[in-house]
């Protein structure tokens, strides 16, 4: 293993286990150590220094690391529960309150955790890849909405009406799962790379919550659905969820 590879692996391990400024400090110490090691000692790096993960583990303060794991577990749970509900597609009542609660809890946790522990003053360009991923997530949501609208308007004549329900379920499940995966990726990147990746987590959580609400509306036995304005109350709830999510994502990018 050469020095660059070692430092890259060490950087990931340190940022995962230590608060940002401390990880940077340790990394600069290792860079200084490497700058003084003879170049021919590259093949002895592991023997002399140990594996990067082991080096990071030795520097970990157990209490602080446990607090991070608890926060990470909570934020992951806020993604995992809606994903489970979405895939199961069986609801006892309309889950608007639960989705509001999970979105608020996940957003607040992401804003508080990364905001408190990694406060920075200088303005830096957004991390590479964040904007395309955010845009991709919104495209997934828009595509799912278009497919659902197409099903509702019955524009796909070749699709038998008996399959409309299955098509809608799979559309929402795939869109929601993509959002959950990207949201989780954003959460990990927020820890090991740049705190602003939490915007992807919050947007993923929002899209997932929207998918759950649409699926719940589709599988509900709502007798009012036959009337012309049945969708107004659902649109209000989904609009509220979308507003909270977008506001949280906007704050996360600051």
């Amino acid at each position: 293993m050469d020095q660059q590879t070692y430092l890259k692996k060490l950087s990931c391990a340190l940022h995962w286990r230590l608060p940002g400024p401390e990880a940077e400090d340790v990394l600069s110490d290792y860079q200084e150590i490497f700058s003084q090691r003879p170049a021919e000692a590259d093949d002895r790096i592991i023997r002399d220094l140990g594996e990067p993960l082991q080096a990071a583990r030795l520097l970990t303060e157990p209490d602080r690391y446990r607090r991070w794991l608890a926060a990470f577990g909570w934020m992951s749970f806020c993604l995992a529960l809606p994903e489970f509900l979405l895939l199961r597609a069986r609801f006892y009542g309309y889950p608007a309150g639960m989705m509001f609660l999970l979105l608020a809890a996940g957003t607040a946790a992401a804003l508080m955790w990364f905001g408190i522990h990694r406060r920075e003053r200088e303005i830096r360009p957004l991390p590479k890849g964040l904007c395309p991923m955010l845009a991709g997530l919104l495209v997934v949501l828009a595509a799912a909405a278009l497919i659902l609208a197409g099903l509702a308007a019955e524009i796909w004549k070749e699709l038998p009406p008996a399959l409309y329900g299955i098509a809608a379920y799979w559309t929402m499940s795939l869109a929601g799962t993509a959002a959950a995966v990207l949201g989780f990726f954003g959460l990990v990147k927020a820890r090991i790379s740049d705190r602003r990746w939490r915007a992807l987590y919050i947007t993923g959580l929002t899209v997932l919550a929207e998918c759950v609400l649409v699926t719940a509306a589709l599988v509900s036995m709502d007798l009012d659905a036959a009337s012309s304005g049945w969708w107004v109350s659902y649109a209000g709830i989904m609009g509220g969820i979308g507003f909270i999510g977008l506001a949280g994502a906007g704050v996360s990018l600051c």
């Binding site: 340790v26 110490d29 023997r47 520097l59």
Partner: protein
């Protein structure tokens, strides 16, 4: 007294003689404890910093970039004395049993 304490004692001892930069500290300690990896020694050095036994400062070098130097503090001197005392007690106890 564990190996960790012995390495901490050695770290505090070399720093009580002179201020040193990171790599030099690791090199010297590793000469005495060849079976110990530098990451382990560095973790102990950082732990001593966190406890306030040592502190860092940026020092000038004549032929290169600035280096982070370490120096011992008053708390470090006290800890070194305590560890040294403990080491002597252990050594005497072993000697009393005939272990040299």
């Amino acid at each position: 007294m564990l190996k960790k304490d012995l390495i901490e004692l050695s770290l505090l001892y070399v720093l009580s003689n002179e201020d040193l930069y990171g790599y030099e500290i690791l090199r010297r300690i590793r000469e005495s404890f060849p079976g110990t990896q530098e990451s382990g020694i560095y973790a102990l050095l950082r732990g001593l910093c966190r406890e306030g036994c040592t502190e860092q400062y940026e020092g000038e070098t004549s032929d290169g970039p600035k280096r982070k130097y370490y120096r011992i503090t008053e708390a470090g001197n006290r800890k070194r004395e305590n560890l040294l005392e403990e080491w002597r007690r252990l050594r005497d106890a072993l000697a009393a049993l005939g272990i040299e």
